[in-house]
């Protein structure tokens, strides 16, 4: 049992922590360019985070320990997930710890506690935020699992590393099932990471915000942790998508030689995905809450079609 995989594991987590803000920065930057504004630059998120960490915490009187515990938990789950999803290399010691379903569940924990924290203070916005969040989640999760099942059916496994292996080995050229599943996954990822058209990460307008509404009362390091965690969540969803649908470039064996290449690939892909996100977000407007059923319904339909066409056509 060589030590290298463990080092890669560590490296991967570090990269996750380091690059997630940069990715957000990249997205925001592109968005500014698209909309003809001058951007705050790639590193603005870092500045925000460090500022928040520096500040003291201001806590509402009736906040309970749940409220204070949540940020750490959310952060923890994100990091853990980052250790499991193959970002750089497939051969990770933590990989067998959890398969795709578990990862979805990890994000679910984070959501669960965030929602509780939203209700903890007992403000109208907090409750509204958590109620909406849970509603969206309860619709998005089945679709998510369907999309993932399609992949794991085509690759005969639910463990991500294994999926990557299979995709490397087999020739999966032009599979309708995967195409459908991928489309579905994109829609759901938008919903889960709270991007337009499902949620608007940049708004504090009372009636439109969902995720922001829950973390309204946070401040200082708590807020920093939550923000950082949500950045990582976006990053991880992108990674999840890449690992499941376009893993080319991820190192197949745990050796340092392969890592730089994988890193280059990853950064390139991230850039591309960022462009995609920005295109979507500038193209669409935020939906009404109850139009979301149709949105997520479409996602579910696509995922199901994917699964069907796996059985019918492949």
């Amino acid at each position: 049992m060589s030590v290298i995989p463990y080092l890669i594991e560590l490296l991967q987590v570090i990269i996750l922590l380091a690059l997630a803000p940069a990715f957000i920065g990249w997205v925001r930057m592109l968005k500014c360019w698209m909309q003809g504004r001058s951007s705050a630059g790639l590193f603005q998120p870092y500045r925000d985070l460090s500022k928040l960490f520096a500040k003291d915490v201001v806590l509402a009187e009736n906040a309970s320990w749940i409220f204070r515990f949540t940020p750490y938990l959310v952060f923890g789950t994100a990091v853990l997930a980052g250790g499991i999803i193959p970002i750089l290399s497939v051969d990770l010691p933590l990989a067998p710890t959890a398969d795709v379903i578990v990862i979805v569940a990890l994000f679910a924990i984070a959501r669960f506690f965030t929602a509780l924290a939203g209700m903890d203070i007992g403000t109208a916005f907090g409750g509204m935020g958590s109620s909406r969040e849970m509603m969206i989640a309860s619709l998005a999760e089945p679709a998510m699992l369907m999309a993932i099942f399609t992949v794991s059916l085509t690759n005969k496994s639910t463990s991500l590393s294994q999926i990557v292996h299979v995709i490397y080995s087999g020739q999966t050229l032009l599979r309708p099932s995967l195409a459908f599943a991928f489309l579905a996954f994109v829609l759901i990822a938008l919903a889960e990471t709270g991007r337009i058209p499902v949620d608007n990460p940049a708004t504090h307008l009372e009636l439109t915000m969902v995720h922001e509404a829950m973390i309204l009362e946070y401040s200082g390091r708590h807020l920093a942790l939550v923000e950082w965690a949500s950045m990582m969540k976006l990053f991880l969803f992108v990674m999840l998508g890449i690992a499941a649908y376009a893993p080319w470039g991820i190192a197949a064996r745990g050796s340092f030689t392969a890592v730089p290449l994988a890193l280059a690939f990853m950064i390139f892909k991230l850039g591309a995905v960022g462009v995609g996100i920005v295109l979507i977000e500038t193209g669409l407007a935020k939906m009404r809450l109850f139009r979301l059923t149709e949105f997520l319904g479409a996602a579910f339909l696509l995922a199901t079609l994917g699964m069907l066409s796996f059985f019918i056509l492949d």
Binding site: S64, A98, V102, R221
Partner: protein
Amino acid sequence: MAGFSIHSGSFSGYTFDAMRHAEIPFEWATAAFFLAFAGFAAKAGVVPLHVWLPEAHPAAPSNVSSLMSGVMLKTAIYGIVRVTFDLIHIFPWWWGAAVLTLGLISAVLGVLYALMQHDLKRLLAYHSVENIGIILIGIGLAMIFKSFDLPLLAALSLIAGLYHTMNHAMFKGLLFMGAGSVLHVTGERNMEEMGGLIHRMPWTAALFLIGCVSIAALPPFNGFVSEWLTFQAFLLSPSLPNSLIRLLIPMGAALLALTGALAAACFVKAFGVTFLGHWRGHHNPHAHEANWPMRAGMIMSALACLGLGILPTVFIDWMDIIAEQFTGTTIALSASAYGWMWLTPVSYERASYSGTIVFIGILVVVLAAYLLLHVRPGAIRRVPIWDCGFEKINHRMQYNATSFSMPIRRIFGYLFRIKEETELSPQPGHKAFPKKIHYHLSIRDRFWGWLYKPIVEASFWLSRKVGKLQQGRIQAYLIYSFVTIIILLVFLR
């Protein structure tokens, strides 16, 4: 229980052995199976035979109801398993399919109805319906796999079901005890009247929270393990020979996922409304922590939840005896093949999960973050709520159970019989600002209307419709031909 009469009618003797070895003609077997199943299902509260459940539970005192959902439902499950796998050990696949379908329906409807409740104990009772559903899903899958003679998979899904049975006993007991202590101190069952109890009874809150997390099927607690196993069983369905169910079963997986997500939503509501926020009630409660014996009971079952969550392989090794007896194989070999830490139901490549590591991992990271952030002592100032700079908020503004479940109520509304009425007494002058608004909402379980009103009505209605095939709308005519095709195709296959 009529099932047994047929059993014993078709052959002599009530002893299981006698039944086991008796040769039954197929029709009788079917009849017997479904009657027996109906009997047990009614006991277990499977939709649509569930209506007694939410009525009975709240009526009973908490410890009794925890016993009810803990034990009685289990006996029902035991009965079903015993009859199907042990007495009628050979059966066609569609029995399994029927059980599976019932399970799915119970799961989804159960959680949806639960979501609509604002009486804590009714809510929990409906969740028993849901969990029975999940258990039945496992059993149904097991039956299907067995009838296609795939013993390993059968064993897997059977164990998933049984494991969930055990889990359910644990966390449902925990939750009922928690609810009981809340009732005891507040004298309230209506969540709308609660809130902020976490400050008054931290222990109960914490333990109840563990229960919520487990029943919402979130790692690293036990609920997740059984659900994960069930998912794995679902995902193994492609190895079935029959093309149709191979196609249909993954849909079931989607429904199960929906159930899980809704359950999470439901317990965010339950916990959030009960323990968090401000006190919503009128009279100010003099609530205090539950007494020690109560706490001890809760702590024990909470520990059980955690243990079942992070050390599944150990318990599964015990359960394998049952699986072996009924399906002829064990999954222990593969399940704990990679050490006690990893749960690998079929094979290492296929899927693996380690609750232990997840638990430890989260713990470690959280502690690390916490310590790192507390090297510099950051003072915490307690201030009034900011709430987006919103002025003079009071506790009546916060979300309550009804408003929390409103979005979901709107989406799945057609499953309930909902009566909403708002009456406002306008004050003279400006109509826009009425003096007071009364909002009244009543949600009824549809099945009363569907099944328990006499079916005579329906038939009567039909008889009047005889001449009215020709009712003018072309869509209707198209539907006729459509349905005709479908029926004929079914008839010919």
